[in-house]
């Protein structure tokens, strides 16, 4: 699936980099711990989180994430959105809570990351 599919499934608002929604999403990773993402998320992964600080953007950039979904309708501050936009990281905000968000994507065919992903 691509980010446009993700947006539809999650009824998500696109916060930036809308022109990159054709990007293919290979795996999903839901977590609020950045070190877990750094340890286990593969590349071309969609990061799903409720954390809205700048570390999420740095982590996404380092991991070559395809984009970030904020759950529970959360949205980061404007400067963080600008930073993501500058780094070509699409940000989406979904009203669904973490469990439902991951469940919706999983049942639509998106696979999770494995522990030995690198």
């Amino acid at each position: 699936m691509n980010l446009r599919d993700v947006q539809k499934i999650l009824k998500a608002e696109v916060l930036c980099s809308e022109h990159l929604l054709e990007r293919e999403v290979e795996t999903g990773f839901g977590c609020d711990l950045m070190s877990e993402m750094l340890a286990f998320a593969g590349s071309h992964t969609l990061l799903i989180t409720s954390l809205t600080n700048e570390h999420v953007i740095h982590t996404a950039e380092i991991m070559d994430a395809v984009g970030v979904v904020y759950v529970s309708g959360k949205q980061p501050a404007k400067e963080i959105i600008n930073k993501a936009n500058h780094n070509n990281i699409p940000l989406l905000s979904t009203p669904f809570l973490m469990f439902e968000c991951c469940g919706l994507l999983f049942t639509s065919g998106l696979k999770g990351c494995k522990r030995d992903n690198s």
Binding site: D32, L33, M34, S35, E36, L38, A39, S43, T49, L51, N53, E54, H55, V56, I57, H58, T59, E61, I62, M63, D64, S118
Partner: protein
């Protein structure tokens, strides 16, 4: 540690340095991001770039969280990249324990930022080929992580 630095002096090398100040949480991501861009321009493999960026992010985050100040040096030579952090601070009393996944002495405030889950040093070890940590309680810590680079023939 000295042996490696002396050997590196005779080869073409690129050295990147960053000052790390107390509670300057942004410096970790920014340093990792800057080095990542430099390494990409140098044509390193995506896997090597990613591993080095993760090591930098986690190592600098450790300095910001636990120490009062420090320095990051990234030394790039054709065969390998060395990530070196030196800090002044409380030090690590039990390195073996600190290496265990899930062990952390970070505060609730740090955890709320998404760090302090006890994955920092295990992540650094996972992403590097060699890891040396020297620490003195009440003085500070020196961390050296080495990532060997595949030769051009091996890149495929």
């Amino acid at each position: 540690m000295n042996r490696i630095n002396e050997e590196a002096e005779n080869k073409p090398q690129l050295k990147l340095e960053f000052e790390i100040k107390e509670k300057d949480f942004n410096v970790a991501g920014e340093a990792a991001s800057k080095v990542k861009k430099t390494l990409q321009q140098l044509g390193l493999t995506p896997e090597a770039v990613r591993n080095i960026a993760i090591v930098i992010y986690e190592a600098v985050m450790n300095v910001v969280i636990h120490a009062t100040c420090g320095q990051l040096k990234v030394i790039i030579i054709p065969e390998r990249v060395t990530v070196l952090t030196e800090d002044k601070g409380i030090g690590i009393s039990n390195i073996e324990l600190a290496m265990k996944e899930g062990y952390s002495t970070a505060t609730h405030e740090i955890r709320e930022m998404g760090f302090g889950a006890g994955m920092g040093l295990p992540n650094i070890k996972q992403c590097s080929h060699k890891l040396n940590i020297k620490s003195q309680v009440g003085v500070g810590t020196v961390l050296e992580a080495i990532i060997y680079l595949p030769s051009k023939d091996e890149k495929g």
